[in-house]
């Protein structure tokens, strides 16, 4: 394969790494602003216009802080973990049609690859927590692993619903199928698409370890969870990785459920529309952070195993039946 200049620009600038990282910083700013508004505060205000440079200031500051590896910690894992933490979601984001038409890397089965990368990210959390040689970090990573056992099943099952509706396992193909159909899958086969979306949203919150499923990094109970021993550069990379994860889940939601018939054929509007949809999904998740309290880890497990998993199985079966009948 010969790389053309266009491919290189797509990979490195738009919609590639440079754009994705900027978007990740922007999403963190948006997240903090939305939560602040919900709590009747201003949120970041002083770094740049309306505080928009705040995540970048945090990142640069953390890069310059002292680097501490605790005695007894596994230095190799603590170094490799944060780097992979950024690399994995960046890789997964290449499979998502950020420009509203087609992903940079598009193949049949990219949805499965993304789901696999999501599991790897959680395994990485487990590794970092374990390598930190700290009780709080170990406890946080154990909770993270426990939580993974509960949300990963409904996440995969509901992600298959749009794939069934589109008849394809490629994310770009699923997004295009909604354009051809004329309906976003959110409103397709009502109410199955909507239920599937809600389950996917809940599982995304758990995957991102965001409120109400932030028991793995509950700062009121276990210091900072699995991130407790990370300093300086490691923490900066992990935070960036979490923001990229956030971007990944929001853009997954946009591509799986929020396609529309008009924009994908227009050259400039397509990326703009897709990014707006991604921001809307991220906004919903940020709003949830301001609204609800935290589940204990056993409550989260109970919620998923008693309600969410049966619902996701039901939606999957019902979608298949509805498609057969239609």
């Amino acid at each position: 394969m010969v790389l053309s200049l266009n491919d290189l620009i797509a990979m490195l600038i738009f919609p590639g790494f440079f754009f994705l990282i900027l978007m990740a910083f922007f999403l963190e700013w948006l997240d903090r602003k939305v939560v602040a508004k919900v709590q009747d505060r201003y949120g970041p205000l002083m770094a740049g216009p309306a505080g928009i440079l705040q995540p970048i200031a945090d990142f640069i500051k953390l890069l310059s802080k002292e680097d501490i590896v605790p005695r007894g910690a596994n230095k190799v894992l603590l170094t490799a973990g944060p780097i992979l933490m950024v690399a994995l979601p960046l890789t997964a984001l290449l499979f998502v049609p950020i420009d509203g038409q087609s992903a940079i890397v598009d193949f049949e089965g990219s949805l499965i690859a993304v789901l696999f990368i999501l599991i790897l990210t959680t395994q990485l959390v487990l590794l970092i927590g374990w390598a930190s040689a700290n009780v709080f970090a170990a406890e946080g990573s154990m909770r993270s692993a426990l939580q993974m056992l509960s949300y990963e099943i409904p996440l995969a099952l509901t992600a298959i619903c749009p794939a069934l509706m589109a008849g394809s396992l490629s994310l770009s193909e699923i997004y295009r199928a909604q354009a051809e159909l004329g309906w976003p899958f959110l409103a397709y086969l009502p109410p199955l698409g909507a239920i599937s979306f809600l389950v996917f949203l809940t599982c995304s919150l758990a995957e991102l370890e965001r409120v109400p499923f932030d028991a793995p990094e509950a700062e009121t109970e276990i210091v900072a969870g699995w991130m407790t021993e990370l300093t300086g550069r490691r923490l900066a990379l992990v935070k960036l990785g979490r923001n990229l994860d956030f971007l990944l889940m929001a853009s997954l939601m946009a591509s799986l459920y929020l396609g529309d018939p008009i924009t994908p054929s227009l050259p400039l509007l397509a990326p703009a529309a897709f990014i707006l949809k991604t921001l809307a999904c991220a906004g919903i998740m940020s709003f949830a952070r301001g609204l609800v309290a935290r589940f204990r880890i056993d409550q989260a497990l109970h919620l998923f195993w008693t309600y969410i998993i049966p619902i996701s199985v039901g939606v999957l079966v019902a979608t298949k039946l509805a498609l057969l009948l239609a």
């Binding site: 903090r32 602040a36 709590q39 009747d40 505060r41 201003y42 949120g43 970041p44 205000l45 002083m46 770094a47 505080g51 440079l53 705040q54 970048i56 200031a57 945090d58 990142f59 640069i60 500051k61 310059s64 802080k65 002292e66 680097d67 501490i68 709080f136 700062e219 009121t220 210091v223 900072a224 991130m227 407790t228 021993e229 990370l230 300093t231 300086g232 923490l235």
Partner: protein
């Protein structure tokens, strides 16, 4: 390094530690974080782990019981780090100075306090002003 100084001054993450305060200063510190005063405007976040913090905010007289913990918390923080004593007790021991169980203020234990905010308790505005003055000084800190 203008960029680095700007970044450090724009994101002072604080770790709050109560060394034996009567809770009055703690309430005021928490008030500085919440809607009416909102210290996040200046980029400050309250973090749980000393490994993530830039500024150690101490309230209360340092008791013999909390002295080793204060020392350890301070040592666990990554450089560059600053200490802020909030309230009269944290500055000098206040009315508890000289008690059999009190070692005095932060400065008696850590040997330094980069910013002192007097008051019993200091108002949130005072804490905010202390933080901002500290941040302004942070712009000048050189990497060791």
């Amino acid at each position: 390094m203008g960029l680095l100084r700007w970044a450090r001054a724009a994101s002072p993450w604080i770790l709050h530690f109560n060394t034996g305060a009567c809770n009055a200063c703690d309430i005021e510190v928490v008030a500085a974080l919440t809607p009416r005063f909102d210290v996040e405007r200046f980029g400050a976040l309250k973090v749980g782990s000393p490994r993530h913090a830039d500024i150690l905010v101490v309230t209360g007289p340092v008791t013999r019981e909390s002295e080793p913990r204060l020392r350890r918390l301070y040592e666990q923080m990554p450089e560059p780090k600053l200490v802020m004593a909030v309230g009269t007790c944290a500055i000098s021991g206040g009315v508890f100075a000289g008690c059999y169980n009190v070692r005095g203020g932060v400065i008696n234990v850590l040997g330094k306090a980069d910013m002192m905010v007097p008051g019993c308790p200091p108002r949130p505005e005072a804490i905010l002003e202390g933080l901002i003055k500290l941040v302004e000084r942070l712009r000048g800190i050189k990497k060791r």
